[in-house]
Each structure stands twice: as C-alpha cells, then as structure tokens.
C-alpha cells in the first residue's frame, strides 16, 4: 500500500487482507514499524468516529487503537502509546479467541506483541517506574499466550500452539529485563511439554535456547547452559554478528568453567577481548591478574551477570599454578610450603599453610590433582602418571 492513501483506503485495504486471510499483510498494516505510520492522513483528529461503523466488527477496534497509538507515538507520548497498544493487543486476543481452528492470524499477534514490548521499553525509560510498565506488558503477552496454549484440539497444521514459542521469547525478554527470572519456569515447562516442539521456527528456537541457557547458568547448571547456548551459537545465522556476540558473552565463561579455553582468534572476531586477559590469567595461575581483570571489567561482568562465574574460575588458576610448581620441582613429592610460596607470590599474601592444604585438598577432591596430602610430612604426594589431568577431561 502506498503511504499516501486516505483513511478510507487504508480501512478497505485492512479489511480485504482480513477477509482473504492474509496474515502477513495484515500484520504489516497494523505494525508500528511499517511505512504507513508516516502517512498523515491516518492521523485524523477524530479517528474513533471515522472508523466506527465503517468497518467489520472485530477489526474496527483494532484499527482504532492502532491509529491512536500511532498518533501518540508521533506526539512522543510513550505512556499513552503504551495504553493504546495494550488495548490493541487485548482486541487481537479476542479476535484470536473467536477464530476457531485456524492460525493464519498469528503473524498479526506476533507484530502487535513485539510492538507492545518495544513501546513498553520506551515508556519505561521515560517514566522510570521500576519495571511496572514492563510487568503490565508481560500480563498482556500472557493473555495471548493463554489463548495459544489452550488451543489443543485443532490439527497440528492449524493450531495456534505454534505461536507459543514466539510469545514465550517475548516474555523471557521482558522477565530478563526486569530481573524476575523465577517467572520463567512455568513458561519453560510449557514449551518443554509441548507436542509441537519440533515445529517451531528455527530462529525462535535459537532465541529460546539462548534465554534458557542463560537461566541455567544463573542457576549454576553449567552443563545444561553449555548445551543450550552451544545450540544457539552453532545454529545462529553467520551474519548475525551481534547476536553471536551476545551468545558468546555467556557461552565463553560457561565453557571456561567446563575446562575449555577460547582461542584468541574467536575473541577478537567477536570483540570479546575482555575475556582474553582472563584466559591468560587463568592459564598462568595468576591470581592477582584475575583480581585485576575483575576490577577492570567489573561493570561488564556484573551487568552480564557473570561476575561470580569469573570468581569461580580462580579454582582453575589454583590448579594451573600448582601444576607449574610441580613441573618446576620435577618431583612427585612437593612441600606444602612451595605451594604456599607460589600462592603468596601470586597475590594471596595472607594465605597460611593450613589454607594451602585446604586448597590442595579441594583440588584432589574434585579430581583436578591425583594424589594425597601427608599431614605429618607437610607434603603433597602426586601420582606418577597424569598427576594433573586436563581440565576438559573432567566433565
């Protein structure tokens, strides 16, 4: 449609798309990111009376709230725009409910929901309500989700359940933004138990696994996190550099915890060189270096939520440091005092013999060192073969 059409032409066009069940075209016409938004004819002062009665029953409400939202956006009133878009989503929910046994309207639902979330971000940024607006947006999205999830009698090709994953992704984005991760669990369960799991579009699956992977990381379930984030990273389109970088922000530390260090080339390619300093410090057993990296990139690590994972990587630094001592001493009996001296040299000034023993004990318990401690002789006796198994072999 040309952007110069009149309001009546626009209404007729929307109606035609609706009657001929062209979901994507309809979605485009009710999108806030389409060129018709710039059309001044659609911003009449009295939209409601002009549209009302001029249009098919469920559509009129949708068009009215859509155009009012456009108007509010032009005035830069994001709060009002948010209210109208919420109303628009509510109308679409009713429309979906009324349409039994068909799902051609799903693209329209995706579009209005995405627009709602984007406006909610803007409104939140302006009003600073501590997440209240985003929570309201999540409620609207949940209403859509319920309609989709409840549609379980329709055949697989026509079921609205296919729309679930897109909505779940929108919701996950909101919940991560307002830091309410506990709300994700029922959504994840709904997708996991869904019968149409394999049918969801790949792009949506990638987004979904990215968030579920992050959630697993947050819950300290690193193997699951690795599985999901790896899926996302491998399947993500090669040109989506920004998304791949985002995935790597979490995948790199998770992989490091599992004993796999990234290459410099990879980190350079995705501009994640913050991790390179960390990799070097961990490899060298440089405890002071880790502290320096943590201080230097504190805000990056905290905002990404990986600060504590970096803290956990110190255990690997201990292992690497002790391995160096072992190689230097070239003996399978090593004094605790040597380890202690190494720790002190690397910045743990206040460490004593007892604590050194404790650190070694934990490494032996985790299988990172093969051997035993002799309390009487103040020595660590390590295995003559493979005393320090490679980290990646442990998982």
């Amino acid at each position: 449609m040309s952007s110069t059409g009149s309001l009546n032409q626009y209404i007729q066009y929307v109606e035609r798309m609706y009657r001929t069940s062209q979901g994507h075209q309809l979605a485009r016409l009710l999108s806030l990111r389409d060129e018709h938004v710039a059309n001044r004819n659609l911003r009449s002062s009295d939209i409601a009376t002009l549209v009302e009665g001029n249009c098919l029953a469920p559509l009129d409400e949708i068009i009215i709230s859509h155009l009012l939202c456009v108007k509010a956006l032009c005035m830069k009133d994001f709060m009002e725009a948010f209210e109208y878009q919420s109303a628009c989503v509510a109308c679409v929910v009713r429309l979906l409910q009324a349409q039994k046994e068909s799902n051609w309207c799903l693209p329209l639902m995706y579009t209005v929901c995405l627009d709602l979330r984007l406006i909610a971000y803007r409104a939140e940024a302006c009003a600073q309500t501590n997440g209240k607006i985003l929570e309201k947006a999540a409620e609207s999205l949940l209403a859509c989700f319920r309609v989709c999830a409840a549609d379980n009698r329709t055949t697989e090709a026509d079921t609205k359940r296919l729309g679930m994953l897109t909505l779940v992704n929108q919701l996950l984005k909101v919940y991560f933004k307002i830091n309410k991760l506990h709300l994700c669990k029922p959504l994840i369960r709904a997708i996991d138990s869904s019968t149409v799991k394999k049918e969801f579009p790949l792009a949506q699956q990638i987004t979904y696994k990215y968030f579920v992977g992050r959630k697993a990381m947050f819950d300290s379930d690193y193997r699951t996190a690795d599985e999901f984030l790896s899926f996302s990273f491998v399947r993500c389109h090669r040109r989506s550099i920004k998304n791949k970088r985002l995935i790597l922000t979490y995948l790199v530390p998770v992989k490091m915890l599992l004993g796999f260090m990234p290459t410099k080339h990879l980190l350079q390619k995705y501009e994640l060189m913050q991790f390179w300093d960390l990799v070097l410090a961990v490899k060298n057993g440089d405890l002071r270096g880790i502290d320096q990296v943590m201080e230097k990139y504190e805000s990056f690590f905290i905002s990404a939520g990986i600060y504590l994972i970096v803290e956990k990587l110190k255990i690997y630094a201990y292992r690497n440091l002790f391995r160096k001592v072992y190689v230097a001493e070239n003996n399978h009996q090593i004094d605790i005092a040597s380890f202690q001296a190494a720790l002190q040299l690397m910045g743990h000034d206040d460490v004593d013999a007892d604590e050194t023993q404790c650190i070694v004990a934990n490494l032996i318990y985790d299988g990172k060192i093969k051997g035993y401690i002799s309390y009487q002789h103040k020595k660590v006796v390590v295995s003559k073969q493979n005393a320090f198994p490679s980290l990646s072999s442990l998982y």
Binding site: I315, A361, N362, Y365, Y372, S374, Y375, Q376
Partner: protein
C-alpha cells in the same frame, strides 16, 4: 514459597489505584476483644500469656479461609500496636525461663505470623513493614542457631528457614522500593536512630539495621548464589560496608570450598552473623570431612584431631573425633585416619550442641535483638 510476599508485591503494584480503600485497624490492644472472649471461654490461653494473676493475650495466627472475612477493622491492629506487640514478644516473652526455649519459639513464631498477617491485610507502607520485619529476622536467626540440635518434634529447621526467607525477601523488597522512592533508607534510619540516641529509653527499642539484614541474607543462604548476585548489584556505598564485605568474602571462600578460610573469617563476625554462620557450620564440616577423606586418604597416615578442631571450629578435639566417627572415619587415639571409602555420606548431619551466644559475646537477649551496626 512465600505467599505473603507475593501478596505484598501485588499490593505495591495496585497501590496507586487503590490507595483510598486501604483498611486501617482499630484494635488498640495486642489481642482483639472477640478473640480474648473466645479464648477465655474455650480455655485456649497459652502458658506464656499468663503472668502471675494477670493475663496478657496476643492475637494468634489463623489461616485465611474462604468463609471468614479477616479484613475487619476491629480485628486488625494498627502499626503502633503492631510495633508494640513485636517488641513485647521479643523483649518480654523471650526472657521467660519457666518454659523450654522451643515452646517460647513456637509461641512467638505464631504471634509474629499474626503480626505479618495484619501488616499484609492493612497494606502497610514499606518503611513500616521494614521496621516490623527487621526484629523478626533477628528472632529467626537467633533461635535457628539456639535450637539447632533439638529433635524434629520440638523444632523444624526447614520451617524456620521458610519463615526467615519470607521475612528477609519481604524486608529486602521493602528496602529496594524505599531506595527507589526517596534515595537511600539508610539516610532515613540513620536520622531516626540519631534522634533515638538522645531519647532516654533508647534501650529496649526495636531498630532497623539494613546492613545487618543484607549481611544475614548472604550468611543464611551460603548454599545459594542468588544472594551474591544481589550483593554484586548493590549500590557502592552499601557494598563497601566492611560488614557486608566480610560476609561476601566468607561466601566466596565457601564457594571455593575453602573451609579453613571460612572458619578463620568467622571469628570476626557480629553475634547474629555468627548465629547464621554457625547454623550452617555442621553442613560445612560435613563437606570438609568428605573433602579431607579424599585428600588425606592413606592407610598409614593420620591427621591429629587437634588440627581438625582448629580448622573446622569444633569446640574440643573430642567433638572433632566424635564427628569423624559419626561419618564412619576411623579414630586412633588422638588422631583421625582418613580413607575415602570409609566416609559415609548418607548419615544424618552431625550437629554439635550450640554455644550460648549470650555468654560468648557477653550480651543479654535484649542486646541481641537491638544492637546495631556501627556506621
């Protein structure tokens, strides 16, 4: 997990629209008239409510049911009465020595739940909720340690943890909303407590110490990373507080399994933090012994029980030996022989008798409920 908490959050959400129809209690005693009559009639007066010839009843907790309307003003106590009630429960009831501590705990816990219920129904503003919850958290932490070795029929640590977490999360969410509402709560409480200093009866008054609660939130949940996620995101001025930094250091040492460091740092803790950590200590000791049974595993070598007692803060070498035997390790005279196959991970937790905090820190129970963190 915490139904009050969710309810409370919803209340905040609806605050703007429903400010006008908030219920305010009109009951000006600790127990509503109706309940006094009923309980006197049915002979339901608790032994702790009898003070000689006098009777002092406190409203008991009752579950909200579909057929009962709890939102009745004359059954609800307004904020000042609730404050007085909390104070009475913590300062007066806990001093009773004629009944076992577990009975005192059960009674006070029940009455505190009723206080929380009243606060919820009346939708008290966050600053008032915080002031009511802070002493409750102290109560759950203190009794959690004091009663830790009692059998399950007398004291249930899981339930205690549930109530403790409920109060803590509620409290922290109050502090957060206060912080966003008007800068920092510490300014407010700091201001109020400086007024209190001049008042003549500053003693025996409940207080609001946010740093202490943030600190307890970390130390009461050492098995959980989420309090640490919260800590790293706190604003710099609170984060830098030495008390919180100490708690964070302990939690990180625990994350690394560094039991020697955890125990060494524990010597610097304030009384309630000490309670929190020492409630966790048996779990820490068990893990440490499991680690050591691998690390010192040898058929000939031993480790002296003295060293174990020193590392893991057993009060006597004898306690360390008893714990080792409990977990299936062999004790030879004053030494323990570790062997990884000996360690029994499926036996119950070995909980030594808790030390009396009042003696250790030379504090009265009132001090424990009212001391504050130096700014």
């Amino acid at each position: 997990m915490s139904s009050y908490f969710d309810f409370f959050c919803k209340n905040i959400e609806n605050e703007d629209s429903q400010n006008s129809d908030r219920i305010t209690g009109t009951c000006n005693s600790m127990c509503p008239e109706d309940e006094v009559k009923l309980r006197e009639q049915e002979r339901l007066i608790h032994v702790l409510e009898v003070w000689g010839s006098e009777k002092k009843l406190v409203k008991g907790y009752s579950r909200s049911a579909a057929d009962s309307n709890m939102a009745v003003p004359h059954l609800l106590r307004p904020y000042p009465v609730l404050t007085y009630t909390v104070q009475y429960l913590l300062m007066d009831i806990t001093r009773r020595v004629d009944v076992p501590a577990s009975v005192v705990y059960d009674y006070v816990n029940d009455r505190l739940r009723a206080v929380r219920q009243d606060a919820t129904i009346q939708r008290l503003p966050p600053e008032q909720c915080a002031c009511l919850l802070e002493p409750m958290i102290r109560f759950y932490v203190y009794y959690g340690y004091k009663l830790s070795n009692l059998p399950l029929k007398d004291y249930d640590p899981v339930l205690n943890k549930k109530y403790l977490l409920e109060c803590m999360k509620w409290y922290l969410s109050c502090s957060d909303s206060l912080a966003t509402m008007r800068g920092n709560i510490d300014h407010l409480t700091g201001f109020l407590s400086s007024i209190d200093l001049n008042g003549k009866d500053k003693k025996n008054k409940i207080v609001n110490d946010r740093v202490l609660i943030e600190n307890l939130y970390i130390l009461c949940n050492l098995d959980d990373l989420h309090p640490l996620f919260r800590y790293v995101k706190l604003s710099k001025d609170i984060k830098r507080h030495p008390k919180l930094q100490l708690a964070y250091e302990i939690a990180i040492a625990n994350l690394h399994g560094n039991y020697v460091r955890v125990c060494r740092l524990a010597d610097k803790l304030c009384p309630l933090s000490y309670c929190a950590l020492f409630t966790y200590l048996p779990t820490l000791q068990r893990r440490a012994l499991a680690v050591m049974s691998h690390a010192y595993s040898n058929k000939r070598l031993t480790v002296p029980a003295d060293a174990l007692a020193h590392w893991l803060r057993y009060r006597e070498p004898h306690d360390a030996r008893a714990a080792c035997e409990h977990y299936g390790l062999k004790v030879q005279g004053a030494d323990v022989r570790f062997e990884k196959t000996d360690f029994k991970s499926d036996v119950t937790l070995n909980i030594p008798n808790p030390q009396d905090i009042r003696e250790k820190f030379d504090l009265s129970i009132i001090d424990i409920f009212t001391y504050t963190t130096p700014k």
